[in-house]
Every structure is written in C-alpha cells, then in structure tokens.
C-alpha cells in the first residue's frame, strides 16, 4: 500500500495521459472552437509560444474538455461511486452545450476517466488522489509556463498527425 503523496503523483501522471490522449484524438489543438479560444492562441503565439498549443489552451479555457471531464469524473466517483462518475459525464455534456461547444471530448474523457478511477480504486488508490492529481496535471499545462506548455502540446500534436491521419 502506497502512501498518499506517492499515490497523488501517480494519479497525476495517469490523469495527464488520459486527458492529453483524448484531447489530441478529438483535435483540440487544430483550431479554436470559439473566437475567444482563437484570441488566446494568438496571444500565446505573440508571447513566444506555439499556435497549436495555444489553440488547445484556449479550448480548455473556453469549454469543459477532457481535463474537466477527468476532474468531474473523479469528483463523481469520490462522492457517489461508479454511477456518480457516469452522472458527471451527463453534466459535462450539458456543460459543453452551454459553452457552445459541439464536440464530445469532455464527455468521452469523463467516461474513460470514470473507468480508470474506478479501476484504480480496486488496486488501492482513492478517488481523492485523482482529484488532487488532476489539479496537478492541469497546473503543468495551464499554470506554469504558457510558452513551454504550448510548445510541448504542439510537438505532441505533430506526433499525433503523423500517426493518425486527418489533420489539416
């Protein structure tokens, strides 16, 4: 049995991989979903960052994406078990539509995260580890350095475009 700080760090890595994979598959770094997301991307590029990374940061700010889905799924599982996580997916779907986002990245990320968190609980993790872990994971993308984070996302985006077709 691991102690709580170690579990939180492992959960942060799992959350990071979950939301980054789902967001890249759903093409968040391709373009801004609303005019505000595009404006944030242009501002990030003006400050020395990468445009595609800026689009993803803008889209995360403007609408609940897979990272928000992971957080709310963890909250749902923490408060009400497995079905709480699935109920959170419904709320994320409603939230997406409120924010004028036609995509399914948030809902998909929420459902995958519900299974991941519930599975991890069977091997000794707590759902609260994933709540703190997701906050750490979003800190690395949005909260430390927009220049380095946007370049990292742009590099991952180019890898995704090489492996899976369908990018502009």
């Amino acid at each position: 049995m691991l102690d709580e700080p170690t579990r939180i760090l492992i959960a942060a890595a799992i959350c990071w991989l979950n939301f980054m994979t789902v967001d890249l598959i759903f093409k968040l770094p391709e373009s801004g979903g609303v005019s505000g997301a595009t404006a944030i991307a242009q501002e990030v590029e003006k400050g020395g960052g990468a445009l595609n990374g800026g689009y993803m940061m803008g889209n995360i700010v403007s609408s609940p994406d897979a990272s928000a889905g992971t957080l709310l799924a963890s909250c749902g599982v923490f408060c009400a078990g497995f079905f709480g996580g699935l109920f959170a997916a419904v709320l994320v779907y409603v939230g997406n539509r409120i924010c004028y986002d036609p995509g399914y990245a948030g809902t998909t990320g929420c459902i995958t995260a519900t299974f991941i968190v519930y599975g991890a609980m069977q091997v000794g993790f707590a759902a609260s580890d994933f709540i703190a872990g997701m906050v750490i994971a979003i800190l690395t993308i949005q909260g430390i350095s927009y220049v380095h984070a946007s370049r990292l996302v742009a590099r991952l985006w180019s890898v995704r475009c090489r492996w899976l077709r369908g990018c502009r």
Binding site: G36, V61, I131, M134, I136, Q142
Partner: protein, 89 residues
Amino acid sequence: MPVAEGMPVIAIYVCAVIAVYAALRVILQRNTMRKLPFLNVMSFAVTGIIALLLPHPITIAAAAAYFVGSTLESNAIASTWAGGIKKDE
C-alpha cells in the same frame, strides 16, 4: 482546522496551495488573455476542494455547476475581448 476521520487531508492541501498559487499568477499577469489559463487552474482547484470537503452525491451537481459557470465566464470574457460575434462571421 477540525479534520474528520478518513478525510484526504493531503489532497485538500494540494488543491488549496495550487488555488492560491493560480490566484497570485492571475493577479501578477498583466495581459488579460494570458490571465485566463491561470484562472482556469484556479477553477479546477476550487472544484476539487468543493468535492473533497463535501462528500455527498449532490456535491457533483454543485461542483459541475461551479466549474461550467466559471468556464462560461472565461469563454465570455475571451470572446468579448476578441471582438464578439462580429469576428466570427
């Protein structure tokens, strides 16, 4: 602070420290558009704290309502600064 038995204390402190850090970055950042990602981190942390402090089924709705509301506000601020609907057309 009174802490109930079995409460995830370290997780709550991690969220609280990150919320305060993000709030300070929002204050120190001059550019309005570059403030918004830090504000997003703060919303994540506060949503986490709400769920961790109040483990009750209805808390999911409260946390989701807070998070979607704050996201919608960021969306509105960013879109207004970008020039609103006119630029979309």
